[in-house]
Every structure is written in C-alpha cells, then in structure tokens.
C-alpha cells in the first residue's frame, strides 16, 4: 500500500492514490485553512500549491477572540471559491505539479510576536523548502508527525515528507502508548519533535529499530534524555534544527553547536550575543533591507566558519514545551475579564515543560475564583497559553525599575 497519511484519531489510512482522487474531485478552495482533520489540512496545502494560491494556516483551536485579533474575521465562508483542478493521474505527476510555477504561492501563519499583538508571517516556496532534502531513496521514509500541522515545524515535516512522496503517521495528540504503537505498526523511520515530546515518551522498555532519524528543536535537550533516547532508538541519528515562524528552518546540527554553512554566511551575524538574520530570509512582514533580531542569545564557539551555541532568549517570550507564549497577550486577555483589575503573567521553571505560565491577579471584588478565570480563558486563548496557577494578590509585583517582573 502506498500510504500517504495515517491518522489514528480519525481511524484513517489514506493512500497517495486516495489523495490524488480527492484532489481531482475538489471543486472548492478556501485560502483560510482552519480544519481539524490533518487530511483536510494537507489536501488544502496541495490544492494551494497546485493552484499557485496563498494559503493561511489557522490553528483549529484558535478561539473566536483570537481569530478576530489575528485576521479581522470570525468566519471565512466568503473567501470560499470555485476552482478547477487540472487532471492529475499519478503521485509523480502531483509532486511534479507542486514544484512547477510557484509565482503567487504564499504560506502564511501567525506568530505570537515578541511584543504587542501576534503577527502574520508569509513565506514563499523557496523559503519554506530551504532545508527540504530530496532524493529517490527518501521515498521509503515514514515520517512521524509530532507537531501541530498548522505550525511552522509541522509545515516543515509536511514538505519534507510530501516532496519525497513519503508516508506521514500522526503522532501529535496521541498518548505515550499510542505513539509507540503507531511507530512500531507503521515502521516510522523519521521523527521530528520538541525535547518535551521525547522526554514524555520515556521511559520505553524496549528497543525500537525502525527509527533512523530523530530531529528536535525549539528547546534545549537535557543530556540524560539524549542518552536514554540513543538507547531506545539504537539506529537513530539525532540532530537539532534551528527554525522559527519568521525565518523557517535555517540550521541543522548534530550536537548543541550550530555551524553556519557558506551559503548562509552572508545572512547570519551575531551582535551583542544576539543572533541576527538578514531580512531577505525573513517572511514578507519585514523589509528586505537590514537585519531581523531573533531574540536568541548565542555564544560564539568559532569564527570562519561561524559556529555558535544557543544560550537563552532575550525577549520576554515564554517557552512552554517548545511553544512560545507572549505574556503581554495573556495579561491583556485576563485584564479584559470583568472583575479583574490587573494581571501579571510570568514563567515558572517546570520539570515537565521547561516553563509553565503562572499569573498573579488583582481582583476588584473577591468574587472570582481560579477555576472561573480559567474557564473564561479557555474560550479566548489556546490551552498552552493559559496559566496553570493563578495567585490572587493585593498588588502586582514589579521590579525596581517599575517593570513587571517575568521570572519567578
């Protein structure tokens, strides 16, 4: 069977011929993609590529409130349009079509932004596929998708797998036992995920031979986890990827030191320990002149070629298990709740997720409890942005400079 997608949650196995048929049968396309089903998302991605049309990926769990802030709309029916898909006869032809003529194609997604509001970032085909490697032998690879498919990291996995005609097996949103079953049943050979995902997969009391490659990104790996992973996946090469919503996937390394290859040399520099990326590599939000500040602080290991290690983040973004949360956004939403007079959102170190979001809240009257605030937030924010602990205080803690303190 030439499997395209296995989605355990939908109890679905979809083959490449099924995909080709579904594309041929498509008569409508909506550039705003907010589907729950992975197959629907991937089908829309293919359609956008075939039609050379922009696609805007929205998380299926965005609240109405978030949707309005991000896009200006709560529903997207009016963007629905009739389409005519050219007849596709085979998987080969489909992949060929994906590569041809990408003049107007853009992929847009949203980033939490370092300050203020979340921002829309658009990438063209070249920037999305920068680290995609292609070869005939890669067609045998089976990719475990352990990221949200509407985030940059998930998009990267989709392109790496789809461009080579591989199979994709959903691992995201499954329990530990289910993940291991899917890896074994479908002989997954490649997995890309966050250190938190790998950490929660452990302990595994057997060896899994099928996996040849583990890629991780978004956070730092702890040594103990790395060693245990090598034990469980004895055939896997383990590498790190540096990617962001703004720049796409940029660098890859086999340890914690990233080496900048000659082709990228002109586009990366380090200033005051911060990694800067030339704007020509950044999505269309930015001007093409000048440099984009990543907020990532690095330590230079060598020059010529440039080698560095990531040390920490400069910005106030909080990394929760590989997902960035903008504390200003969360504070703003809490302060909109009737009865709340002020809120402070901060990071607390956590052994499971690296950091968790906590909040101090000042109430006007003592008539709200933690559960009520969290319930209200559930309709306004994605789950990982919601504080895990709320402390009610009389006054918000500020630092000596009068700034709200972010570390606890």
């Amino acid at each position: 069977m030439d499997l395209f997608l296995r989605d355990r949650i939908k109890n679905a196995e979809i083959t490449w011929p099924d995909l080709v048929t579904a594309l041929n049968d498509s008569t409508r396309f909506n550039p705003y993609c907010r589907a729950h089903s992975y197959f629907q998302i991937f089908k829309d991605l293919f359609l956008s590529l075939i039609l050379d049309n922009e696609i805007i990926l929205l998380d299926s769990d965005f609240s109405e409130n978030e949707l309005v802030n991000l896009t200006g709309y709560t529903t997207f029916e009016k963007f629905d349009k009739q389409i005519k898909v050219p007849a596709i006869h085979s998987k080969r032809e489909l992949i060929h079509l994906v590569f041809s003529n990408k003049k107007n194609w853009r992929l847009s997604l949203f980033t939490s932004g370092t300050t203020g509001h979340p921002k829309k970032i658009s990438h063209d085909f070249k920037s999305i596929t920068r680290l995609v490697k292609m070869s005939e032998k890669r067609e045998e690879n089976v990719w475990g998708l352990a990221y949200n498919p509407t985030h940059m990291a998930g998009v990267q996995v989709f392109f790496q797998a789809a461009m080579n005609g591989c199979s994709i097996v959903r691992l995201f949103g499954l329990s530990q036992d289910e993940v291991l079953e899917e890896i074994e049943n479908y002989q997954v050979s490649h997995i890309s995920s966050t250190p938190t995902f790998y950490r929660l997969l452990l302990p595994v009391h057997k060896k899994i031979e099928s996996v040849k490659r583990l890629t991780s990104g978004g956070e730092k790996f702890k040594k103990g986890v790395l060693n245990e992973l090598k034990n469980v996946f004895p055939n896997a090469k383990i590498s790190n990827i540096y990617a962001s919503t703004e720049a796409g996937a940029l660098l890859e390394s086999y340890g914690d030191t990233f080496e900048v290859k000659a082709v990228l040399e002109k586009y990366l520099r380090v200033k005051d320990n911060e990694l800067l990326i030339h704007n020509s590599l950044i999505g269309f939000r930015e001007k093409s002149e000048g440099w984009y500040s990543t907020g990532d602080l690095v330590e230079i290991v060598a020059n010529n070629p440039l080698k560095f290690r990531f040390v920490s983040r400069k910005s106030s973004l909080i990394n929760v298990g590989g997902y960035n949360v903008n504390p200003h956004e969360v504070e703003g939403i809490i302060e909109e709740i009737p009865g709340v007079s002020a809120a402070r959102v901060y990071a607390k170190e956590n052994s499971v997720l690296g950091n968790i979001i906590c909040s101090e809240v000042v109430l006007k009257k003592k008539n709200l409890n933690e559960k009520e605030i969290r319930s209200t937030l559930q309709s306004k924010l994605q789950e990982y942005k919601i504080p895990r602990m709320i402390n009610f205080v009389d006054k918000i803690t500020t630092t000596r400079t009068g700034k709200i303190s972010r570390i606890n």
Partner: protein
C-alpha cells in the same frame, strides 16, 4: 495520602473541564488511565510541589500514582 493526591489530581482535571476520578490506587497510570496530557502533568507537579515541597518530575518521568508516593516519601 491517596486521598490528598486524588484531590490534587481532581483539581487539575477540573481546571481543564476534564472528568474527575472517583478512585485511584498505586497502579493508576496518570496518562493512560486518567488521561493527563503534558500540560496537566506540568500543573500537577507545581501543585504537588506547593504541598509537599517535592518536584516529582525532577529526575525522570513518573507514570503512576505509586511512583509519586515513592518520590514524596523519599
């Protein structure tokens, strides 16, 4: 202690509007039996730490209620 742990577990579950548990025993698995995800586990850690001053996930992953009790009793 089981009773106290159940109450903490139920606080975490109810904060996410998830179904609470009537009974737990030492072999109850946090993820596979109770359905906790990584966000729940993270919250459980903080709440247990607040009460018992032990970070149950500090060195490795705990899977069952019995393993939590062992960490707290250490």
């Amino acid at each position: 202690m089981l009773k106290e742990l159940r109450s903490i577990i139920n606080t975490v579950l109810s904060n996410r509007d998830k179904k609470q548990v009537d009974e737990i025993n030492e072999s109850t698995d946090l993820r596979n039996d109770i359905g906790m995800d990584s966000l729940d586990l993270a919250e459980l850690t903080v709440r247990i730490e607040a009460k018992y001053d032990v970070d149950i996930f500090k060195d490795d992953i705990v899977n069952t209620v019995g393993e939590i009790i062992k960490k707290i009793d250490k």
